[in-house]
Symmetry: C2
Subunit: 315 residues, 2 copies
């Protein structure tokens, strides 16, 4: 996708308003995500005009977790806004694995569905691995299938889909013109859904990548060598200003609630990076919220469009 000078311009204006002595440019994920959604809407309109097809995304939700319901509702709304048709299955908490698998099979063979998403976490009595592996590799818009991860890791191979959150991190780096090739990158955290695929993506883009995790000794030393840091570990304010190389690009995936009696809700959300400190040292930084967060759904829409284009050979 193209780089976006508007985003960068808006960001540099914003940065002055957030903290008077901050020197880092703010990476405005909300703005970038909005631009991407607009680009997707244009592409979908063209596709509809050209071949009479719109992308379809199926979401399977099991149980009635409030947070999952909110996510699914947001996904549905975002789909509608860009012209993706959404399909939804809501199953009770005590459904059997077989019932979920049956719905996956139906969506796998439905030609109007181009992406299938099983909302996590699943109830404890279900085997995540069995269920996620049942999603057709061509419709695995989450990119969590081990075959996709393997292709992501390998040179000369490409995954069908790149997992949404790490894809969003890369997109932010690209749109803000951050050079990756030959740069030192540190990924903090090695989860299957963010840290590990983010490291593979940076590696594929020819960065020299190190992964920092709970067993890493002196994580600050290695992080301080990095031109690019992606923090995805889920520990509030873990990465302090002293961990940051001056001028580095910081992508903060963490969204951690911390007590805040001054907030009406009694808490506020902070990242894995101590923003107050890091923003004085970094060259670019994502805020929390408003950084990586809005990118995840935008990338899900992008993966769904990509899938429909591939299946219908539409360029």
């Amino acid at each position: 996708m193209a780089s976006v000078s508007a985003a960068a311009a808006a960001a540099s204006t914003d940065s002055a308003t957030v903290s008077s002595d901050a020197c880092a440019k703010i990476i405005d994920g909300k703005l970038v995500a909005k631009q991407i959604r607009e680009e997707i809407a244009v592409e979908i309109a063209k596709m509809k005009d050209g071949i009479g097809v719109v992308p379809g995304l199926a979401v399977i939700l099991v149980g009635s977790r409030k947070d999952s319901q909110t996510y699914v509702r947001n996904k549905k709304k975002s789909c509608e806004a860009v012209g993706i048709k959404s399909y939804e299955v809501n199953l009770p908490e005590d459904s059997s694995e077989d019932e979920v698998l049956k719905h996956i099979a139906t969506f796998n063979s439905d030609p109007s569905v181009h992406g299938i998403l099983v909302q996590l976490p699943l109830p404890h009595h279900m085997n995540d691995e069995n269920i996620l592996n049942a999603v057709s590799i061509e419709k695995d818009v989450d990119g969590f299938h081990p075959l996709n991860i393997g292709r992501l890791a390998m040179q000369g191979r490409d995954p069908f889909f790149v997992p949404c959150t790490p894809k969003g991190c890369m997109e932010l780096l690209h749109r803000y013109g951050v050079e990756i090739k030959g740069k030192r990158a540190v990924v903090i955290g090695r989860s299957n859904i963010v840290g590990m695929p983010a490291a593979l993506l940076l590696q594929k883009a020819n960065a020299t990548v190190s992964i920092v995790h709970s067993n890493t000794k002196k994580p600050e030393e290695i992080t301080r060598q990095a031109d690019i840091v992606i923090a995805a570990v889920g520990v509030a304010n873990l990465v302090r200003g002293s961990w940051i190389k001056p001028g580095a690009a910081i992508i903060d995936v963490g969204i951690n609630p911390v007590d805040d009696p001054e907030s009406p809700r009694g808490y506020r959300l902070v990242g894995d990076v101590c923003y107050e400190e890091a923003s004085k040292i970094a060259g670019l930084i994502t805020p929390v919220p408003g950084g990586v967060g809005p990118m995840t759904i935008a990338m899900l829409l992008s993966n769904t469009l990509e899938s429909a284009k591939r299946i219908h050979k539409f360029k």
Copy 2:
């Protein structure tokens, strides 16, 4: 597998004979590989006694490259020595992809075959990816299938097979008692068959891993931070003594011919690591030849045994 004090003891004796001022303990891959082959032979004898089954390894060779023929002959000999039954198909250089695929399909459904290996490189008119992907994931003893690589990369998943050469590197570290958890590791090279899976294995063993490659600036700086170095880049003597942290464990996968008028063949084999320099600084080091080399076939035998045990549920 168990650690081997005999190997370590033998190695420390050897180290004195190789270079008078070398301080590194030599990792004797030849000796370790021999011990592993003996352990495998014992296990196979037990299996044969217990359930009347021996592991079977099928090798498909296309064309008449001298080096490939030598490899295949060595594999066959090694199989026979431990009690693995070997199956071989030799196809002419101008065979079609379909012929190769037909043989793979036959071996996939043959219950006496537990491992299938397609000797690389294949002739240029064939698509490696198509052919390698046709090997049943349960019999992919090379561990090159992207599904295996994906499972290797993911937490909470395990591959059916670990690629032989990187598995051999890890086995050498284990058998020489090198602690991996919490250590800094640098892998030089990121090939699909050695560097990348070696990095994933070190990462799974809780090292803090960095991958150095052709785009890495100042590779010596990051390498010098490593307690463990795996060099697999194919450049003779790339890693100099000054790149090595004192006391580090060095696993040299490279086997590079360099001109040597004093050798009867006119050349000799050297690794990616300048042995003369590195052995004075490292704590442990593999020689070339006689380090990682002999481990690859031993690990292939190990993978074939493992596969037969899994398929026949033999513990």
